[in-house]
């Protein structure tokens, strides 16, 4: 499933001021690629990732995911897309604080219509895959940053999405955990042929990817 952006603009209004977060962005991500989008803070990289993942709508241009134009899809359809096509990994992990690790992973599975028992079984498998099965019944506040990010990755894989979108996945981790998380993402790409898009400001993270884009002041370059 390819991802294609054509002439994508994004303009925000902040008070009376207009902010041009993205300017005429063209991007083609082929299926199975491990891509990084690197840029400083405020460059528009997170906005770009959000538009790819249907979290935001572009002000102009077109976004294709596979053969589907998602630019103007209704909110309900975008939700379904985020549930089944994309897996999100965020910088701050964004786990639900009052749910255990396994319950966090089960949330998207249950939303997709799977039974509680099947969800619990598969969530356990995913936690084992990311090496954190021993923390399955712990709350996020009982886990380290690296552990939480692994749970977040397991959650991102809950409905077996073909595309993983990671926004600064190592931003709040130390170097050791960063390497571990990038290793996981790389394995998802190489062994499971998932498309992985990583947004980062860290050149070391970008090095781990097969293709890199640079973004600055809303303008993308290869």
């Amino acid at each position: 499933m390819n991802i294609e952006l054509t002439g994508v603009d994004k303009v925000y209004r902040v008070g009376k001021r207009l902010v041009h977060a993205l300017n005429d962005v063209d991007l083609v991500l082929k299926e199975g690629e491990l891509v990084s989008i690197i840029g400083p803070s405020g460059s528009g990289k997170t906005t770009l990732l959000n538009i790819i993942g249907g979290l935001e709508r572009p002000t102009g241009g077109r976004v294709m995911v596979g053969k589907k134009d998602i630019t103007h899809l209704p909110d309900r359809t975008l939700s379904s897309l985020r549930l089944r096509t994309f897996g999100f990994v965020f910088q701050s992990f964004f786990l639900i604080p009052h749910l255990t690790a396994i319950e966090n992973v089960m949330v998207p599975m249950r939303e997709a219509g799977r039974t509680r028992s099947a969800s619990r079984r598969d969530a356990g498998t995913l936690l084992k895959k990311v090496g954190i099965e021993n923390r399955a019944h712990h709350l996020p506040m009982q886990m380290s940053g690296g552990e939480q990010q692994r749970v977040a990755i397991a959650r991102a894989l809950a409905n077996d999405p073909p595309i993983i979108l990671a926004d600064e996945p190592t931003g709040e981790l130390d170097s050791g955990n960063s390497r571990m998380i990038m290793g996981l993402l790389r394995d998802l790409n190489r062994e499971e042929k998932r498309t992985v898009v990583v947004v980062t400001h860290d050149p070391q993270v970008a090095k781990a990817c097969t293709r890199n884009y640079r973004i600055s002041d809303g303008t993308l370059s290869h």
Partner: protein, 430 residues
């Protein structure tokens, strides 16, 4: 639907559950009082074979020839029983030292009032025991002027010999006295009670032959104005109060024959009685039930409204807590939206949490509800000094109350649920 785990936020959940439990408990208690009073009132009237009453418009006795007219009414085919009654307020005297073997009328020369004589205003009822007996229910209770008398003992002489002798001989001096008065003056069977006339003199004595209890809900004889009630033969009370001239009574109670109880016939009989007894009031059981139902409806509605208001207050509290919870969980809602959870699932999750808390609160509220009901019942029995149930809790009422509480919880949780699904912009998540 998003997972509902209120137990993971124990403080807030406990607050909500407790507030609902207290509110719901109050609702159950108040409804039980409403139902109990309604049941007691209707039961009080419902069991009494007093289909019609002819009574004075005011408090003074206005029915003359009461004995003969009552007997005549019994013979006319419409009524199976009739009972003349005289009700007055008078004064009685009590002494611990007096010991008289026979009751008397007018102080005999040898009698002087004992030094420790204590007098008290009392409600006095005069009736003919034999004529009153058909009106006594199986539970040994008799309703007179909205006062329910529960008899422990009864008169030995069924007739009214003093009246029959034209108020010359046959004075029995038999008196039934109310429990609380008997307790207050330590009266036992055989003890004397003195009648104090208007000039303050002891003009007669009676002998206690038994006691009775009274119910509340009386606006007739039992009130703050009298210290208790005493019942004597009609002729004896008429003589002592000067009502023997004309054989005066305050009311005649009538029990209709079975085949005369339909509404149309009752109406005709009532009209006929109004002609026979001009200037007097003729009321039927149906009319009295109607008036009583009107009065207790007000009390019932008041109880239910107060109970409902407390539940609404509890639900407002729940709704506010849920709103606060939704605001605090902004990020959580945004995360859920980001990972693909639909607005519908989030909406249903908030509603489900409210319903769960309301269910737990309602069920837990049954405990204070039943406790409160028991306490209210004990208090009211003790306050009014009667042993009748003042509260009634029925299973359908509980089920309906729980169902209504859940429905209200659903309604009150809609705003927090709408807020949850419209919270924030997903791009703000990053």
């Amino acid at each position: 639907m998003i997972p509902v785990k209120p137990h993971r936020r124990p403080g807030r959940t406990l607050l909500s559950v407790l507030s609902l439990a207290v509110s719901f408990g109050m609702l159950v208690s108040l409804i039980s009082v409403s139902q109990g009073i309604e049941g007691a009132a209707e039961g009080k009237l419902g069991d009494q074979p007093r289909d019609m009453i002819i009574s004075s418009q005011g408090i003074d006795p206005s029915i003359d020839h009461s004995h003969s007219r009552s007997e005549k009414l019994q013979d006319d085919g419409n009524f199976s029983a009739s009972m003349p009654v005289l009700t007055l307020v008078g004064r009685l005297g009590f002494s611990s030292k007096a010991s008289l073997s026979d009751p008397f009328i007018h102080p005999p020369e040898r009698f002087s009032a004992p030094g420790d004589l204590r007098t008290e205003t009392a409600g006095l009822v005069g009736l003919v025991p034999g004529m009153a007996e058909p009106f006594i229910s199986e539970e040994d209770s008799l309703l007179i002027r909205n006062e329910l008398f529960r008899y422990h003992d009864w008169f030995e002489e069924p007739e009214d010999p003093f009246h029959r002798s034209n108020y010359t001989t046959g004075f029995t001096g038999s008196m039934l006295i109310e429990d609380r008065m008997a307790d207050r003056y330590h009266l036992e069977k055989g003890d004397p009670v003195f009648f104090i006339d208007r000039s303050g003199e002891v003009s007669a004595s009676f002998r206690v032959i038994g006691t009775f209890g009274t119910s509340l809900m009386g606006d007739g004889l039992s009130s703050d104005l009298v210290g208790g009630i005493a019942i004597v033969h009609l002729g004896e009370l008429q003589y002592l109060t000067g009502n023997h001239h004309g054989d005066m009574a305050t009311a005649i109670y009538l029990d209709l024959e079975e085949d005369r109880k339909d509404r149309e016939t009752q109406k005709e009989i009532a009209i006929s009685l109004e002609r026979q007894f001009p200037g007097l009031q003729v009321t039927s059981k149906e009319m009295r039930l109607y008036r009583l139902e009107d009065e207790i409806a007000v009390l019932s509605v008041f109880s239910v409204v107060v109970g409902a208001v407390t539940v609404v207050i509890g639900l407002f509290f729940l709704s506010s807590i849920m709103m606060m919870s939704v605001e605090e969980r902004r990020r959580e809602m945004m995360i859920l939206r980001a990972i693909g959870i639909s607005r519908r699932s989030i909406f249903m999750g908030v509603i489900a949490e409210a319903l769960l808390v309301a269910s737990i609160g309602s069920v837990l509220g049954l405990v204070p509800g039943f406790l409160g009901t028991g306490l209210l019942d004990s208090y009211m029995r003790s306050f009014y000094g009667v042993d009748i149930p003042f509260t009634e809790v029925s299973p359908p009422t509980i089920i309906i109350s729980i169902a209504l509480t859940l429905l209200c919880a659903f309604v009150f949780s809609i705003i927090p649920a709408v807020r949850a699904v419209s919270i924030g912009r997903l791009r703000d998540l990053a």
